[in-house]
Amino acid sequence: MGDLQSVWPATDGTAVSRCVPVQPALTDRQEARYRDFKAFVALNVEPFAGQWDREQRIPDSVITLLAKSGFLGGTLPPHFDGLGWDVVTFGLLNEALGRGSPALTGVVTVQAMVSMTLLKWGTKEQKEKWLPSLAKGEKIGAFALTEPGAGSDIQSLATGLTPAGDHFILNGTKKWISCAQIASVFLVFAKLGRSPVACLVPRDTPGLSVEPIDDLMGFRGAGLAQIHFKDVEVPSASLIGKPGFALSLVAPVGLHYGRISTACSALGLLRGCFEESIAHAAMRKLGDKTVGDMGMIRSLIARMGTDLEAGNLLCHDACRAQDEHLPEAFEKTLVAKYFSSKAAVRAAADAVQIKGASGCHATSPVSRYYRDAKIMEIIEGTTQIHEDILGKIFVDRAGSFGR
């Protein structure tokens, strides 16, 4: 851990942040933006994240602030009013936000999932119609894939699209959809006969209703909802991609960005656990010693710091692979999300353990991290789905040798 500096006694967040591993191999511009992101989060997110969690709601003013900062269109190109960031920079934003509020990161996650899918597979008209308003945050998107009976087994979608002259009729229900409470447009995945299909449905379309889902364990401000479609009219021009490709090529683009975002957000949460833990270990007195003098506590912190360093490298590598448009970006992102979300769960549990009773109270961010981290092992593909996919990739690759 090359950047670990001796700055004790840690008196403020700045001192603690100097004790965490640096992000690997950033350009000057990426480094500067990362500093800006962390300053934004320290000022606008961290002081309020606990309140959002308790109230299960993120104020509109915060979403507006994200939008005005350009954070909802960071990866979109400038000709669609985005900021044209590289994916490494997008990852850094998610890392910084994850330190403050993974629930708020969810808005950035979902916006990228919808807008990057549209950027790849939308028609010229669809891009011109939707991308500028998504980039500026005038419209908030939601990625409506999961259903009450189709989560990990996404091929069993029951939401159906039926032809009706020059348009289609959409019926079905989506569940556990992040940001659906505030979204103004939904990217909906359904079946047209046996063919998976994707379409954009504005929130104000007759027959569409949103039923908020409250009282989640974590991500309590992420605005999850169930969406009901009852005889919703969908114009042919609203189909994204072509029937038959929605689950094989269209959805994977969005899910890929969702995994990048979640992996980096989990890394930010992990950094939060580490910073809270080392500060407590250094400052909390036990007689004439500190908590950090205890070997068992050092053991927990050693694992946390090592996970943080490893997660940094994996997330950076995945983002860089995407920037270079490498086919292995898919696999690297799976690895980064798998590792970071699992490490975040471990770190959050250990951070609560290190802080003891104070870590169990709502006034400590680690109690929220503990609940939020578990959600990260489930969204954008569960840990077990990641293991299944990655295990197959590794075994298949080994099987290819010798031919």
């Binding site: 597979w121 072509k242 090529l249 683009v253 086919p327 898919f330 996919i389 990739i393």
Partner: protein, 87 residues
């Protein structure tokens, strides 16, 4: 059509698929999707590989199973896209 260019594209894609999927061999007309050689997890990697290797972009209008159903079809698709770019 340049036969060497066609063979080069086909062999390049074949090598990528064989290095990623546990199948013993891949013939020019084997159906990549119906056979399950290219599943939904591998499809996006294959698309990215084709885009990166041959400097083309697969867009909405290209979403036609006829463009990707076999090595022969994929090769013809790459040649067509290259022709569009160069023409």
């Amino acid at each position: 059509m340049n036969i060497e260019e066609e063979k080069g594209i086909k062999d390049t894609v074949r090598r990528f698929i064989l290095s990623s999927v546990a199948i013993p061999k891949l013939d020019d007309n084997d159906d990549l999707f119906e056979s399950g050689i290219v599943n939904s997890l591998f499809a996006v990697q294959l698309m990215t590989y084709i885009e990166k290797t041959f400097a083309i972009e697969v867009a909405m209008d290209d979403l036609d199973i006829e463009n990707f159903k076999s090595l022969n079809a994929t090769t013809a698709f790459v040649l067509k896209k290259n022709g569009q770019r160069n023409g």
